[in-house]
Symmetry: C2
């Protein structure tokens, strides 16, 4: 049983938040955003494409670092205003800080504690663009 279901891009200025999860481990890697164009390109190519709010344009994840995300499954929530992408993260790190996940810190009563190990040194990977 299937039906045509589209993300509700109109709800938040043309963007929907996208939760990105590693297939296999289930680790939540990051939260990003898509507009209609990013969504269509992601479905067409099988590679994650987001909309960068800071740059104001399409963000083809991994274009500079090589750490692309191969999309295995796209899920949509009950309200059609959020997507969940199950991906295979090439290079093992989604975060520009070099960690597997952007959520590498835990909030504790004593403050934020780093609970992850770096996969790469960001100053090495991004030095071309500095």
């Amino acid at each position: 049983m299937s039906q045509e279901v589209q993300p509700d891009f109109a709800k938040s200025d043309g963007l929907v938040p996208v939760v990105v999860q590693q297939v296999g481990t289930g680790e939540v890697l990051m939260l990003a955003y898509m507009n209609r164009e990013a969504y269509d390109e992601t479905l067409a190519t099988g590679r994650a494409v987001y909309y960068s709010r800071s740059r104001g344009g399409l963000w083809r994840k991994g274009e500079s670092s090589g750490n692309i995300q191969q999309v295995r499954r796209v899920r949509i929530d009950c309200d059609r205003d959020t997507l969940l992408l199950e991906v295979d993260q090439v290079g093992g790190a989604a975060c520009h800080e070099g960690y597997p996940s952007c959520f590498f810190r835990e909030i504790t009563p004593a403050g934020a504690t780093i609970i992850s190990q770096r996969v790469f040194d960001p100053s090495e990977v991004y030095k071309q663009t500095e």
Copy 2:
């Protein structure tokens, strides 16, 4: 090593998106939002409290259905503009439609397909408030 790290509530009109994940299975249950007040109450009580954008007020998850979320860990992302809550979902269902996860549909070339089983019948659980 720890340091004081606060969510950046100023970035998006006082709200931060919150990814909610079931401990143990790693299933992504839902995406919600918190303002400062919801965040403080969540940390203080250990139960997930969100900000309902549709109702314009605090949303103590499970208050009417009984399906509360016991918070096991709070994580914050590199940009401090998104939270990840690891929770134990009481009742086994986070979605008001009766599914374990709000992301119970997969987008396929043929349309949206339901990939989950209902845990409860929403017409039974919510009938008091209708």
